[in-house]
């Protein structure tokens, strides 16, 4: 057990191996008016074995589009996503379906993520039946086992989703994602619909499962304080671009990009000095259909220079495990 733990903990010296890598992923949509919308622009990220990659950003920053490509809801316009040595974005038909076994997802709204007329038992075992991994007669026993994993009472298998609280439903969502014993679980704002105390326990559960099973999480979130509390790596996205990547433990002290700092300044904390005026940049993000040339953050940045208006900064290493895309750094 201790050996296993060592393998996945950061303190073990060696960094766990990369199991999935997005390379230069770009996604363009066409808006209803026919204008191009750049949801993701040249996104390169790595997911490491047994670790959590947190992606944080405000609405419209492209974080959801990015993970939808990881779970293969749609393919990228350009770039590739390498998993097990293969570009999964090229998969089709049965090959694609088999690949889904290893990459599962937990959705944002636990009220919308389940077929309203299915019982919990059928919901959590549907993935297993899809791949014919269990017989119909084993359904009930397996469902109870899955509920035990997420600390729910076994007799919930007979319930319907609408007879449960938000936190309980989100646990069912996690149980469903666990059913196929995936290597990667993508969580799309998995706790933002929950109350804080429930959120606290769901995160504890996820971290416990990660340690036990060595699962990698890709966790999208808009709450910087939450994501830095459990992600090994945090990637900050702004208007489709990764602007900074750094270890979760360093976000509080070492974040360098002006946008990351603006987000940190806007956080209301229970331990803040309430008499101090809250800092925040005054403007709002432009629409993703109107990204300016050069640095995407130029119009809101107080350190904006001449070069920022014309040349887009590249993501460059500025410290160990720390990258940022900014001309001023």
């Amino acid at each position: 057990m201790s050996e296993r733990e060592n393998l996945f903990s950061e303190t073990a010296g060696g960094v766990p191996p990369v199991i999935m890598e997005a390379r230069h992923v770009t996604k363009k949509f066409t808006t209803a008016g026919g204008r191009p919308l750049l949801a993701c622009s040249d996104v390169s990220l790595q997911v490491r074995k047994g670790q959590t990659l947190g992606i944080v950003g405000e609405s419209g920053c492209g974080k959801s589009s990015f993970v939808k490509m990881i779970v293969q809801m749609y393919p990228p316009t350009e770039g590739e996503i390498i998993y097990n040595g293969k570009d999964i974005t090229k998969f089709k038909g049965e090959e694609l379906r088999q690949c889904r076994r290893k990459i599962q997802m937990v959705f944002q709204d636990p009220a919308a993520a389940f077929h309203p007329k299915m019982k919990i038992m059928d919901i959590v075992t549907e993935p297993l039946l899809n791949f014919r991994l269990i017989k119909k007669s084993e359904k009930e026993a397996k469902a109870k086992e899955l509920l035990r994993m997420v600390d729910l009472p076994e007799d919930f298998v007979y319930r319907f989703p609408h007879n449960m609280s938000g936190g309980q439903r989100q646990r069912v969502g996690i149980a469903r994602a666990l059913a196929l014993e995936p290597e990667i679980i993508v969580c799309d704002e998995a706790t933002s619909a929950l109350d804080v105390s429930v959120q606290d326990r769901v995160i504890e559960l996820l971290v416990k499962l990660q340690k036990e099973k060595g699962i990698s999480f890709v966790f999208i979130c808009h709450d910087m304080a939450l994501i830095q509390s459990f992600a090994h790596q945090v990637a900050v996205m702004y208007l489709g671009n990764i602007v900074e990547v750094l270890p979760g433990s360093e976000v509080a002290a070492n974040a360098k990009h002006p946008y990351t700092q603006a987000m940190l300044g806007a956080i209301f904390s229970t331990k803040m000095d309430f008499t101090k005026k809250i800092e925040s940049i005054e403007s709002e993000a432009p629409s993703p259909a109107d990204v300016p040339p050069g640095c995407p953050f130029q119009n809101r940045c107080d350190r904006c220079m001449e070069i920022c208006r014309t040349q887009k900064p590249k993501l460059t290493e500025i410290g160990p495990g720390h990258q940022a895309a900014c001309h001023a750094l």
């Binding site: 804080v196 808009h222 910087m224 940190l264 956080i267 331990k271 809250i278 005054e282 709002e284």
Partner: protein, 264 residues
């Protein structure tokens, strides 16, 4: 005299014997900001709905009284409510976009809103609307008046909502999760806007939110609710630094903090 006294009210809905809020009391002076925090089902929204006489379907105040400037709000007639709402007490919702008709221009609705409360020409009402929008730091109010709600961002819609509710400089502003649908940087801007309103108009506010950080930042007084009951109440510093109840302590501990507890 206090601006608002809520005296030991109990609210029930329909035939449900269990009250949604029980023995809730609150005294507010002019210009004071009170935050009510609680998780879903705590009854925090019911409190402000009761104050504004807007309890939905079968909800009623069974016990206690609500006094606004010494006058009871419980048995007002429709006419009296119309005079009070908007001009003395107004309300802001989580998404002001939901409050505005999506297929009508902002300006049409703003003008109509102003003219239901005060006799003036369309032109005057329009100018008044533009003036209010610009006071809320919306650039070029005239353009915004000509826009449809969907053409504005969430933050801009929320400012429009605040502008409308502040038109007649109400004494009391009730805000139901006013920043919950917004991004963090926008949230900070809107919170700042609220604080400026109090400074320039002396508006008292009741802010209902699940975000404890926002609640504490804005509040003079803080109320924590659970299952319809007040579990903690007092000045901000009392509640934040020395919470009386176990529930509040746990709630504060569960809020993720920058550089605070790490789960891994």
């Amino acid at each position: 005299m206090d601006l608002l006294n809520v005296k030991d009210i109990t609210v029930t809905y329909g035939r449900n014997p269990r009250p949604t809020i029980e023995h809730f009391s609150l005294d507010m002076k002019e210009g004071e900001i009170v935050s009510i925090v609680g998780e879903s089902g705590s009854g925090k929204t019911t409190v402000i709905r009761a104050i504004l006489g807007l309890l939905p379907g079968g909800g009623k105040v069974d016990q206690g009284d609500i006094l606004f400037q010494g006058q009871s709000l419980l048995n007002l007639k429709k006419e009296q409510w119309r005079e009070l709402r908007g001009s003395q007490i107004s309300m802001i919702f989580q998404d002001s976009g939901a409050m505005i008709n999506p297929i009508r221009r902002i300006g049409d609705q703003f003008v109509e809103y102003i003219r239901t409360h005060q006799k003036m020409s369309r032109k005057e009402a329009w100018n008044k609307g533009v003036e209010m929008l610009e006071k809320m730091r919306l650039p070029s109010g005239d353009t915004i008046m000509r826009n449809y709600p969907f053409q504005l961002s969430g933050g801009m819609r929320q400012r429009v909502g605040i502008a409308m509710s502040m038109t007649f400089q109400p004494k009391l502003l009730l805000a139901d999760e006013p920043t919950s649908a917004l991004d963090v940087t926008t949230q900070a801007q809107i919170v700042r806007q609220f604080m400026e309103l109090r400074e320039s108009y002396g508006t008292a506010m009741i802010v209902v939110t699940h975000n404890i950080g926002v609640a504490a930042y804005m509040a003079d007084k803080l109320i924590v609710m659970q299952y319809g009951k007040v579990v903690d109440a007092g000045t901000r510093d009392e509640v934040m630094n020395n919470p009386a109840s176990e529930y509040t302590k746990n709630l504060l501990a569960a809020v993720p903090e920058m550089g605070g507890k790490r789960y891994v």
